[in-house]
Subunit: 343 residues, 2 copies
């Protein structure tokens, strides 16, 4: 037993103190510290280095039936992360191994090893990339676009939240498949990045443009796959431009996650009938047995320079998590938002 | 040439005079009469006996892109019908043949024969049934439930507009496949008919019950296939009860067809994500090359007494069409609404 962190180290944690109404303010969080855990038999302890910030977190904070149980009141907030094994009584993990997993918003996590992935950062591939293109973000884009979206070569793809973690990967994957790709994002810098750096065919700034009209120009023949990360009015606008047999992939709805009243649904959903189209949701965890396939492809395209991963890394402590999370809902991030722990 | 109807007969017609706002009142129709047409070479004339009334008609009256072109202002209103060939210069049709087709709201229709089906009414199978179970209505239920809905034996099926033409067939088809079937309809008589006569497992009266709560009782394990004919709040309620992998079949949205403002969309559509479910629209005309398959199956089940067809036949003249159409939107009909022309 024992613990390389010494007896003075503390495990700093952010716990959910109350279920939020609307945007989660400081009142929903509780900051605690505990002794660094010591692993029991078959278990290990990870010192968390990077915490992933994901729009889905907002859903995990709500009560009620969903695709995963809600974070309980008083529990450490659920989060994906990257870290280093600092103590191990587990046969498959040694001190010094670097791993990703659901570690929570805390500086140390105890685990039985299930769900952990060993990863090997390098000069070319920094740790945060295993939470982005080479992690759940990349998996979400990959399975959402190729499996749920059933993308075919040469189709027209429109993606919302296009400068976000998942959206920016979706667009690049569609370009690799020879598609026309239109991104919808907020602000001229993000739109320029999509077109100039990532090779999107067009970008629409939803903050200044009428999305419905802009889609007429940017996707003149209509949309084959609409990959939705935002919901709300942008989803509704995209529905008016579906082609026959279109697929609408429901990945998220960030524009509505902090709504205090039930947000309006997509008024134009009858476009699904007119265009014999389908709208389908998915949860990336269902594809766990195929993560290897996606990781191999994504890493290959990354190595070939055919796809880029951008991480928006914020340095801070565990206690900064509540503030950093809000950047997602303001649309402040470009690419994957990650909190790197400076301790 | 010539025409068995004699020189004095007139073709009475109902034409679309203006695009309706909201419920189509008398001001949107124009009543005209013309000489009965005489068929040119390769053409024929049908004396229309029965006119099919379908919720889809309301959509055909609107301007704009849809799955079929809108009825032009001044044109005879589009309608499916049954009739008898009264004059023919077409090699495949003889005077006396009985046929179904898109004849319009008029007493005589001229045709080149394309899209016409020869049918043979009998003592057991009256003409109106070829506009109901053995016509587009039955095809819509069959392909919507089995193909779009991908129904599997033993699943739980919920259908709205359940006492209507399509809904009443959908529920019976699902019972044939060993499913638990819940119908949503308006009024105690319709609900009793679904359970007592058609063998539905449960019926919910949306006029007096809270549909969302009632579904908890009627479909306690959730919904595998929700077949939607009505849209609006009932669709939204059904979305809250989807099972994992559910299919929502979008067949119609009668509750919103006469809306004068864009109706709210289904606020609970994110249930598609949580439950990895899909919502898909379809148009029965796409299945034209498989109508034979469906007709054979449906006729077989009908002959075996495993399925019933109920037609709500209204006797009247072509001029009665505008009033009879409104019965659909009031939910006055049980089963397939048909106008039988008394001339």
């Amino acid at each position: 037993m024992g613990n390389s962190e010494g007896n003075d180290a503390l495990n700093h944690q952010v716990r959910l103190a109350a279920r939020p109404t609307g945007t989660p303010g400081p009142e929903v969080w509780e900051h605690t510290s505990e002794p660094v855990p010591v692993p029991g038999p078959g278990r290990l302890v990870v010192r968390v280095g990077h915490i992933s910030l994901d729009p889905a977190m907002r859903g995990w904070m709500n009560a009620g039936r969903s695709y995963v149980p809600p974070v309980e009141i008083g529990a450490v907030m659920r989060a994906l992360g990257f870290g280093e094994v600092v103590a191990s009584e587990h046969p498959d993990f040694a001190v010094g191994d670097t791993v990703t997993g659901i570690f929570g918003v805390q500086s140390y996590a105890e685990s039985d090893g299930s769900g952990l992935q060993k990863v090997t950062p390098s000069a070319d591939v920094p740790p945060e990339r295993y939470l982005a293109l080479l992690g759940m973000t990349g998996m979400t884009a990959y399975f959402g676009l190729f499996d749920v979206g059933a993308l075919a070569e040469g189709e027209t793809v429109v993606v919302s939240g296009a400068a976000g973690a998942v959206g920016s990967v979706v667009g690049q994957l569609a370009k690799i498949k020879g598609c026309r790709v239109v991104g919808i994002a907020g602000g001229p810098e993000k739109c320029a990045w999509l077109v100039d750096e990532l090779g999107f065919d067009a970008a629409i700034d939803y903050r200044t443009e009428d999305v419905r009209k802009a889609l007429r120009t940017a996707a003149p023949d209509g949309i084959d796959v609409y990959f939705d990360n935002v919901g709300g009015e942008i989803l509704d606008a995209a529905l008016t431009r579906l082609r026959r047999g279109a697929r609408v992939v429901i990945c998220g709805s960030i524009s509505t996650y902090n709504a205090t009243e039930p947000p309006p649904g997509p008024s134009n959903y009858m476009s699904l009938l007119v265009n014999r189209a389908r709208m389908e949701g998915f949860v990336v965890f269902d594809y766990a047995d195929r993560y290897g396939e996606a990781a191999t492809e994504l890493a290959g395209w990354l190595a070939q320079g055919r796809i880029r991963s951008r991480e928006d890394v914020v340095d801070g402590t565990v206690a900064d998590f509540p503030d950093v999370l809000l950047r997602l809902f303001r649309g402040d991030n470009t690419g994957k938002l990650v909190l790197r722990l400076t301790r």
